[in-house]
């Protein structure tokens, strides 16, 4: 039993922090909020060269063969830096979905591209009618002689405007069991009939609406099994939840550090505000939240690293970390006073990103519902 990082992970942490501090300053984060692409292709290329984009992929696809704990270390630093771009959807969620469910042809076609930075792939799951649940997958893929024809709308699709492919959860039949009838299709994002409209979110983080009208997909682009895709969608959700939790831990820690150093510097009533117990107690609460968030996340990624079932752990992590990050931000905002509400101050960037992250791959309500079903039936 050892809950610490190993030497390689400590080095990765330091390398990532140094790299992102110089390559992903807040000026870039702000610029990307206004950018059409929402990420820097140049930085993306450098991340590929560092082996980050293929971190979770084996060497045969140009990957680094890292495990989930390595990924969590990196993701914490990305969350700390507020790195914009499709890292989680592409290098974690899509990479693992194709690695684990793809045919040899699909793997050859897509995985090296992910690792070398050429290919961006995003999961397209949610729809307008309801939360994360198989019965709300209503985009229909009708089968014909040539393959499938998709009609429907996907929402909150990360980075669809720059994606090369989408992993779209679609309905291929009405299914006997409640989780049957869903299939995951690898859809070329530039196919005829696809219209991508960026959503204007609190985080300006490049989520999109994807309208699919008569979009043709070949049979060879079915990922996993026809009608049995919901398990794969759940796995994508689990991976996204674990990865997002790790990135939120990094963000929460930075927000907490900002508050503590500000409390030491800021003088009111002739003394540093950090000498007041009202401020000290908020700082102590933030410490508790960051600690708890880190270890509930570590347990989830450790289980995934060990090949154990991590679904419940990822759900626990995502729900707890989302709440903890919100509490940390509320305290940090309060300690920073009016600065917290000023757009030019960095804290607001974290506040807005955290709000989006809270809902990415399931919010607390969605995950607690799954936990409640497990505990209470």
């Amino acid at each position: 039993m050892d809950l610490g990082l190993n030497e390689t992970q400590e080095i990765l942490k330091k390398t990532a922090r140094d790299f992102l501090e110089s390559e992903c300053p807040k000026s870039l984060v702000r610029a990307m909020e206004e950018d059409v692409k929402g990420y820097s292709p140049e930085l993306w290329r450098k991340m590929a060269e560092l082996g980050w984009l293929g971190l979770l992929l084996p060497a045969e696809y140009g990957g680094a063969g890292g495990d989930w704990v390595d990924a969590a270390v990196l993701l914490e630093e990305m969350g700390r830096a507020l790195l914009p771009g499709p890292f989680i959807p592409t290098a974690v969620v899509a990479a693992l979905a194709i690695l684990e469910a793809g045919t040899p042809v699909q793997k050859d076609k897509h995985l090296s591209g992910i690792a070398n930075g050429d290919t961006i792939i995003s999961p397209a799951i949610l729809e307008p009618e309801g939360a994360f649940s198989a019965r709300f997958i209503q985009a229909r893929a009708a089968e014909d002689a040539a393959g499938y024809v998709i009609d429907g709308v996907k929402l909150f699709v990360p980075d669809a405007n720059v994606a090369d492919y989408l992993l779209a959860a679609v309905r291929t039949s009405d299914g006997v069991g409640s989780d049957d009838g869903v299939t995951v299709l690898i859809v070329d994002a530039r196919s005829e009939g696809i219209e991508v409209t960026p959503l204007v979110t609190v985080a300006a983080d490049n989520q999109c609406e994807v309208a699919l009208k008569g979009v043709r997909v070949s049979r060879a682009d079915v990922l996993g099994q026809v009608d049995q895709g919901w398990r794969l969608v759940r796995q994508m959700q689990m991976h996204g939840a674990a990865a997002t939790s790790a990135s939120m831990v990094g963000g929460a820690e930075r927000v907490f550090e900002m508050a503590v150093s500000y409390a030491k510097e800021r003088v009111q009533f002739g003394r540093p505000i950090g000498s007041f117990q009202a401020i000290q107690h908020k700082c102590a609460d933030m410490l508790v939240d960051v600690d708890g968030a880190r270890f509930i996340t570590y347990q989830a990624v450790w289980k995934l690293s060990e090949g154990l079932d991590g679904e419940a752990d990822a759900a626990m992590a995502k729900s707890w970390v989302g709440d903890a990050y919100r509490r940390v931000l509320a305290h940090s905002n309060q300690i920073h006073g009016g600065l917290a509400f000023s757009k030019e101050f960095d804290l607001g960037l974290y506040f807005r990103r955290a709000r989006a992250a809270e809902f990415a791959y399931g919010d607390g309500v969605v995950h607690r519902d799954a936990i409640a079903r497990q505990i209470l039936g």
Partner: protein
């Protein structure tokens, strides 16, 4: 990174579990509800099982397993201690050893004379002697260093005058472990000393009073010209504060609280699945489901905070901040859990164990009362936050 324990720890876990299966009655709920607070453990609530059970623990040497072999312990690893504390608390097993084992014995090992060691350590290992901790006073609670109970030298003796309060178990204890002022002319932390002497010493009187669990544990203890010999002093004169604050090298994860919470949650879940109210099972109520899920995750986060401390202790890292985190988080969590359990039961959650209608023999009702003490005892939540902010984060005083 590895969240699993070693096979030898898991083997030991099986041994402890088998022991508990054998020695505790099948329907044992653990009415001391120690996961929720400090005030409900008592002979009355736990019945005759308490004494026989404790004797069997002593026979195995488990209460003092963390002690060095030289003093009658077993030099148990942190992970072994963790497993033992986790399993005992999960089953709500009767309290074992108390401050004699966790505090007084270790303090004597570090600060006591050879005479003290001979006089006390064997008796503690054998479970023969008990202690009351005479720290808090009417005027000294969170500001403990301001105690005013005086110990004045008189030849080879000390004469002690003053009053302690909230002294748990003083009416049953053989000895008092007393923090008293030996020097009033120096800053308050620098004039305190530690003493140990029999409660039967002339001039010592204790007056027990009930806590809100209706348990008799607290005492006012009065010292009226109590004459004790010089060897009642433990360690150095005027160094008592620093001795009292010395961290002891045992597992300090707080796992017991989280293990007890996990068990309490399981009892609640079973009750919710079996009990109908308003025409449906409690387990079907959406609001209750959300709160149960939330609290279950909170408990798991706490368990990991504890596991993390063991991981740090195994690596010989300092855990004083991490254990404050565990205490602060765990005590507030146990309050939420006690309230959740009692809330879910609706009006039945207000029935005490004396009512035939009380669900789970009034387990959550009692926990709800007991949980008031969780954030008060062993340093209030406010003091924990002060410590974390000032010592942990370096915020100015």
């Amino acid at each position: 990174m590895d969240f699993g324990l070693d096979p030898e720890d898991e083997l030991f876990r099986q041994e402890v579990r088998a022991f508990l299966d054998r020695e505790l009655p099948a329907d044992w709920l653990g009415m001391s509800v120690s996961w929720a607070g400090y005030g409900a453990a008592s002979g009355e609530l736990e019945g005759p099982v308490r004494q026989t059970f404790y004797k069997k623990l002593i026979k195995r040497g488990w209460p003092t397993m963390a002690w060095p072999k030289a003093y009658g312990g077993q030099d148990a690893s942190f992970t072994h201690q963790y497993v033992y504390n986790e399993e005992m608390a999960y089953r709500g097993a009767p309290e074992s050893g108390g401050i004699a084992v966790t505090y007084v014995g270790p303090a004597i090992m570090v600060h006591g004379s050879e005479e003290h060691k001979k006089k006390f350590l064997g008796g503690i290992v054998r479970g023969e002697i008990s202690f009351a901790q005479g720290f808090s006073e009417p005027g000294a609670g969170s500001d403990l260093a301001s105690v005013t109970t005086r110990a004045v030298r008189d030849g080879y003796d000390y004469i002690i005058n003053g009053q302690k309060t909230f002294t748990s178990g003083a009416h049953l204890a053989d000895y008092i472990w007393l923090l008293a002022r030996t020097n009033a002319d120096v800053p308050k932390h620098k004039g305190l000393s530690m003493f140990v002497f029999p409660m039967k010493t002339p001039g010592v009187t204790s007056r027990p009073f009930l806590n809100i669990c209706d348990v008799l544990s607290f005492n006012d203890v009065y010292f009226d010209n109590v004459r004790v010999p010089q060897d009642a002093l433990v360690g150095e004169e005027d160094k008592g504060w620093y001795q009292a604050m010395t961290g002891l090298d045992f597992e300090r994860s707080g796992v017991a609280r989280f293990a007890g919470c996990r068990r309490a949650m399981e009892l609640l879940v079973r009750y919710m699945k079996e009990t109908k109210w308003n025409g449906r099972y409690l387990a079907e109520d959406p609001l209750a489901r959300e709160r149960v899920a939330e609290t279950a995750v909170d408990i798991e986060v706490g368990r990991l905070m504890a596991l993390r401390i063991i991981s740090m202790q195994t690596r010989r890292m300092s855990v004083s901040n991490a254990s404050s985190v565990s205490k602060l988080y765990g005590s507030e969590l146990s309050q939420r859990l006690a309230r959740l359990g009692a809330d879910v039961m609706g009006p039945f959650g207000t029935l005490t164990r004396r009512s035939k209608w009380a669900p789970l023999s009034g387990f959550f009702e009692l926990a709800y009362r007991n949980s008031v003490s969780a954030t008060l005892g062993a340093g209030t939540s406010e003091i924990q936050r002060n410590i974390l902010a000032q010592r942990g984060l370096g915020l100015p005083r």
